[in-house]
Symmetry: C2
Subunit: 328 residues, 2 copies
C-alpha cells in the first residue's frame, strides 16, 4: 500500500472531497464516483483550499499533483486503484452494497478504507469476499488539513492491512491513531458526542447561546487542547503531585450533579430552530465559503506556530516536510 | 471597580497564584493570604511564567508591575483592597467563612470575586452582609495567560457588580463571558466534565490510553476548537445548508448508543492507578515545571498566530495591546 499511485474515492461529499484533495496534493491520481453532477466541482473547490493551505504551511516544494477523473460508475472508478476510499452515507446497507460492487471489480490486494465515523469495521466487512482488506480510516474536517485519522480494524481485518494503513496515512502528513478496541464512534467522536449533547442542553435550557459556547471553548480550553489535550493539561493542574494529585482533587466532582447525565435532549423543531437561529446570528454574516477560508487560515497559522516549536500537530508538519525533502 | 489599584488574593494555589500574577502584570498591587509558607514562592513562579509569556506575546510596553505583599491574615490582606479574589478550596462552608472574615474588614463597596468552578453564586452569597458585591469570576489555567473568565451573578448580586466585573476583566486582557443563568459548573466546566467522564470510560474499558486521547484531541478537533469552537465548525460541516442541514444529518446520531450515558465510572484505586501510570508513561519524562513552560510557549505561539489574523483569542490580545498603547 506504500506504493499507491491511484486511488478511488467513492462518495464526494465534504469528507470524500476532502480525501480526494489530500490524495491529489500528494501526487496520487484519484478517480471519483458520486451520483451528484456537482461532485467534481466540489472536489476542485476542496483542492483549491488545500493548495492555498499547504503552500502557506510547508517550506519545501510540494509533490506534483495527482490527476482527478470523474468515473461513470464505481466499477470504472476502482479499476487499477490500490486504495478505495469509501465516504458514502452512514448506513450499513449502503456501505455493504458499495463494497460488493467494489470487490467485483478489483483484485483482493486492493485496500478498502471506510471514512465512517461510527460503524464498527466488523459490521462493515461482514459480507465481504475478502474482509481482510477492510479498514476504517476516520478523518476530520477539513480532511486535507487536519492531521488526525483514526485507524480501526475489524475482527477479520489483516494485521498487514492495519500496518499498511498506518504507514500510508503518515506519509500523507497525517497522524494515524490506532484504536485499540473496536467500539462504535471510536475515540474522538465519543468525546465530541459528549460535548455536543451537553451543549444542546445548555442551549435548550437557555443557559448559553451557540456563540457563548463557542467563546467558552475558543477563548478557553480549546487553546489548551490544540497543543496538549486533556490529560497532560490536567497533569499540570495537579502541580508537583501530577496526575495522582489531580485525580484526588477532582475525582469527587464526578458524582456532582453537573451534567445532564441520564438523558438525551429531544432535538425537536423548537430546539433546531433555536440553534439554527442562534448560529445565523453568530455566523450568518459570513458565507460558508468565507468561514472555510477563515478556518483554514487559522489552522495553518496555528500549525505553523506549532511547527516552529516542534510540538503536537507541529511535529506532523515537520515530519511531512522532511519526508518531502528526502524524496525530492 | 475600574480604578482598582490594590487587590487581595485569598488562597494562593494554582488558581490564586495565577490570578495574582495576572493582576501584578497589570500594575495592580496584590496582598496574598494563604496558610502555606510556600505560597509567596508559588506566586513568584507564576509571575515569572507570566512575564516571559507576555513579553513574547505583546508588542507594546507592559505596565509597571504591581507590588506583591504577603499578609499574615485575611483581615490584613483585604485592608484597602477594592477587589478581593477568593480562590480557596471548593467547599461552601470554607468559602462562606472567608467571606465573613473579609466583610468584617472592608467597606461595602469592595467587590468579592470567587474563582469557584462550580458552586452557584446565590449559595456563596447566602450569608453575606452585603451580598450584592459577590460575583463569580471563574478563570482557566494558566490564569495569567488564557483569556476566558466566566462571570456569573447570584440572585442578590447587583447589576453594577456584574457590569464592573465585565469591564475590569476585559481591561486585564481577558474575555469575560457572561453566564446568562446561574447553574452549577457554569458553561465550560459542564463541557469539560462531559469529556472527562467519557475519557475515563475509554481508559477504563481499555479502548484508549491517556496518550491516545490527548492525541485524538490535539491532532484533531482541538485545533478546530482553538479558533472556532463547536457550532461554527459544525455550521461549515453543513455546507451551504449551514446549521439546519448539519442538524438534519447529525441529529439522529443523538439516539445512537455511542456514549456511556447512563452512568458515571467508578473512580476506584484500579482506575486511578491506570490513569496515573499511563500519564507517567506519556509525560513523566518532563517535570511539571517543564510541562508548564512547554504549554505556555505553545499558547503564546498560538495566540500570536491568531493575533496576526485578528480572530478569536487573537482579538483579545489585539484589544489589550491597543488598550496599553492608549494608556502609555
Amino acid at each position: 500500500m506504500g506504493e499507491i499511485t491511484k486511488a478511488a474515492c467513492i462518495g464526494g461529499g465534504v469528507i470524500g472531497a476532502g480525501w480526494a484533495a489530500r490524495l491529489l496534493m500528494n501526487g496520487i491520481d484519484v478517480a471519483l464516483s458520486d451520483p451528484s453532477p456537482a461532485a467534481g466541482e466540489f472536489v476542485e473547490a476542496a483542492l483549491a483550499n488545500a493548495r492555498a493551505a499547504w503552500a502557506d504551511l510547508v517550506d519545501v516544494p510540494l509533490p506534483r499533483e495527482g490527476r482527478l477523473t470523474l468515473a461513470a460508475s464505481i466499477g470504472e472508478a476502482v479499476a487499477g486503484a490500490g486504495l478505495i476510499v469509501e465516504s458514502v452515507p452512514e448506513r450499513l446497507d449502503i456501505k455493504q452494497a458499495v463494497y460488493a460492487e467494489v470487490e467485483a471489480a478489483v483484485t483482493p490486494e486492493a485496500i478498502i478504507a471506510s471514512s465512517t465515523s461510527g460503524i464498527m469495521p466488523s459490521d462493515l466487512q461482514a459480507k465481504m469476499a475478502h474482509p481482510q482488506r477492510l479498514v476504517v480510516a476516520h478523518p476530520f474536517n477539513p480532511v486535507y488539513l487536519l492531521p488526525l485519522v483514526e485507524i480501526v480494524g475489524g475482527e477479520k481485518t489483516a494485521q498487514a492491512t492495519v500496518d499498511a494503513a498506518m504507514a500510508f496515512y503518515a506519509g500523507l502528513g497525517m497522524k494515524p491513531l490506532l484504536v485499540r478496541k473496536e467500539i462504535e464512534a471510536f475515540i474522538a467522536d465519543r468525546l465530541l458526542e459528549a460535548v455536543w449533547r451537553e451543549s444542546l442542553w445548555l442551549v435548550k435550557d437557555g443557559v448559553a447561546t451557540t456563540q457563548d459556547i463557542d467563546d467558552a471553548i475558543r477563548y478557553g480550553f480549546g487553546l489548551r487542547w490544540a497543543q496538549m489535550g486533556l490529560f497532560e493539561t490536567y497533569r499540570i493542574a495537579g502541580g508537583d503531585g501530577g496526575m495522582r494529585h489531580f485525580l484526588a482533587q477532582f475525582g469527587p466532582c464526578l458524582s456532582w450533579p453537573w451534567t445532564k447525565l441520564m438523558d438525551v435532549p429531544d432535538l425537536d423543531d423548537a430546539l433546531i430552530e433555536t440553534i439554527a437561529g442562534q448560529s445565523d446570528a453568530q455566523s450568518g454574516q459570513h458565507s460558508i465559503r468565507e468561514l472555510m477560508r477563515l478556518r483554514d487560515g487559522n489552522l495553518v497559522a496555528i500549525l505553523k506556530a506549532l511547527k516552529e516549536r516542534g510540538h503536537g500537530a507541529g511535529e506532523t508538519v515537520g515530519a511531512y516536510e522532511r519526508g518531502l525533502a528526502a524524496k525530492s
